[in-house]
């Protein structure tokens, strides 16, 4: 039976919503194809089942088994990267050889996923899509184009590492419980040590003439006000605001509004209200 592994990302002590969306799609694939879904959950210690909301969330939203990744490096820095999470993820892949390793397309995944793919000799599909409706796994690039091999077949002969952008899939709902497994990686010297973190959300505002902008290629959140999402977004979550927002295929989220600029101003005001005193208005560096 195929193994579908989903790396769950934690932020602020809670499971990131887009990780649950990826888990949901893995659940639907597994149901169609007859596979087992493993949620890889990085936690500093190994709590008993039921004592941690994240474990319950993974079980509730589609995991057959929750694999607790325990490694002191997992919480050494503010966010995941290969240097903190790679060893644990690869250890899990060694114990549970995946057909498909999936994770949300976040800045952390952008650092982790390609290196894990290279280590596994896997195919890497960034910000892609996957379906199982035809009875076999089918992959698509971020534009929705099907990915086929040299013979024009979509049959996978290699392990695939896939990241999925936010908002592409629904969360799966259920009341199932999941078996808990612990996977630990041997300790290793750290490559880099975090010395400082300066809070700054890195917002790029496109299309609103009065707003300052940070380079789109450096932004974590790209908001378009009545303009299409630009092509050089690297790792950001993209939001379209305006009358045609729902039609922008490159956006992850949309709010339909008569006036994109007014909606953007409203969003900036809400962001400032949510995090007062921080550099919430457009600015990538403090």
């Amino acid at each position: 039976m195929a193994n579908l592994l989903v790396l769950i990302e934690i932020a602020g002590g809670a499971v990131v919503q887009s990780s649950l969306e990826v888990l949901g799609q893995a659940r639907r694939l597994a149901t169609s194809l007859g596979a087992t879904v493993y949620a890889l959950l990085p936690l500093p210690d190994a709590p008993a089942y039921g004592e941690h909301d994240a474990m319950a969330a993974c079980a509730r939203h589609g995991a057959d088994k929750v694999v607790l990744l325990t490694d002191e490096a997992l919480t050494a820095e503010s966010e995941m990267r290969f240097g903190t999470h790679g060893r644990a993820v690869l250890s899990a892949c060694e114990q549970l050889p995946p057909t498909l390793l999936m994770m949300a397309a976040t800045p952390g995944a952008r650092d982790l996923a390609p290196r894990v793919a290279a280590r596994l000799g896997a195919l890497y599909v960034p910000a892609g899509l996957v379906s199982g409706s035809t009875g076999s796994l089918r992959l698509y690039d971020e534009a929705g184009q099907p990915l086929l091999d040299e013979d024009g077949d979509a049959v996978l002969e290699h392990v695939v590492v896939l990241t999925v952008a936010a908002g592409r899939y629904d969360v799966a709902e259920g009341r199932d419980e999941a078996e808990m497994v612990i996977a630990s990686a041997p300790p290793a010297p750290r490559d880099f040590v975090e010395e400082r973190l300066t809070l700054s959300p890195g917002l790029a505002l496109v299309g609103a003439a009065s707003a300052a902008q940070v380079a789109v290629s450096e932004a974590v959140l790209v908001v378009t006000a009545g303009a299409p999402v630009p092509p050089d977004v690297c790792a950001g979550v993209t939001v379209a605001l305006g009358p045609a927002a729902a039609l922008d295929a490159r956006a992850h989220f949309a709010v339909v509004a008569d006036d994109g600029a007014s909606a953007a101003s409203e969003l900036l005001a809400l962001l400032d209200e949510a995090a007062p005193g921080e550099a919430v208005t457009a600015g990538g560096q403090p």
Partner: protein, 224 residues
């Protein structure tokens, strides 16, 4: 101590050369066939102050996937004796981490800048990088692959008169100890099929900016 830094260059990636030059003597490197298209980024790197420019190519590389290309780049980095590599972090950001894997070096993506600092253990890198929460500063390894964010598709004007006359060194796989067949192993590599029965991704439509704010919070983009 002069550190040799390899800059993996591409169009519109001046930041890669600028970061590399701030760290040491820079060798610009690119995989590509002879011709203006692939030599232009190398000439631009020379105009921006790179000490050397190297192009590596073999016709077999046309059929290589990302693993094969990274192997060719890594072998060239070793051949050039570079201990530090700077790559671009644009598009899907694939090549930098894969080259790091082939070189068995640590890597960092989302890099905004880097500098050397003196420590009791010798020179170390201090790296600023963009993460979801903000700007992170890390201290660590003296040998690594740094993947630099920034720059746009359009290059700013730079005087290229001197660079046009500079020579670009060409290397072949045999000079690097590689056989073409080693780099084109994968059968079944995926590539987009044009005109196929595809999907049509659309954004998730939220009813209001307040609902959007809540979703951004659940994606870890807000700390409260």
């Amino acid at each position: 101590m002069t550190v040799k830094v390899c800059a993996l260059v591409a169009p519109g990636a001046d930041a890669v050369v600028q970061v590399a030059r701030g760290l040491g003597e820079t060798v610009a490197l690119r995989v590509g066939p002879p011709g203006a298209a692939d030599e232009a980024p190398l000439r631009r790197a020379l105009a921006l102050g790179a000490a050397r420019a190297v192009r590596v190519w073999d016709p077999a590389l046309q059929r290589a996937d990302y693993l094969g290309l990274a192997s060719a780049l890594a072998a060239t980095v070793r051949h050039l004796g570079c201990g530090l590599v700077v790559a671009g972090d644009r598009g899907h950001g694939l090549m930098g981490p894969t080259v790091a894997e082939r070189l068995d070096l640590p890597h960092l993506c989302g890099v905004l800048g880097a500098a050397w600092i003196e420590t009791p253990d010798g020179p170390r890198l201090r790296v600023r990088r963009r993460i979801r929460a903000g700007v992170q500063e890390l201290r660590g390894a003296a040998a690594a692959v740094l993947c630099v964010l920034g720059d746009s598709a359009a290059d700013a004007p730079v005087a290229l008169a001197d660079a046009a006359a500079a020579s670009i060194e060409a290397l072949e796989l045999e000079q690097l100890g590689l056989r073409p067949a080693e780099l084109v192993q994968r059968r079944g590599a995926l590539s987009p099929m044009r005109g196929g029965d595809g999907l049509h991704p659309r954004p998730l439509v939220l009813p209001s900016t307040r609902a959007l704010l809540e979703r951004l919070r659940r994606d870890g983009l807000l700390r409260r």
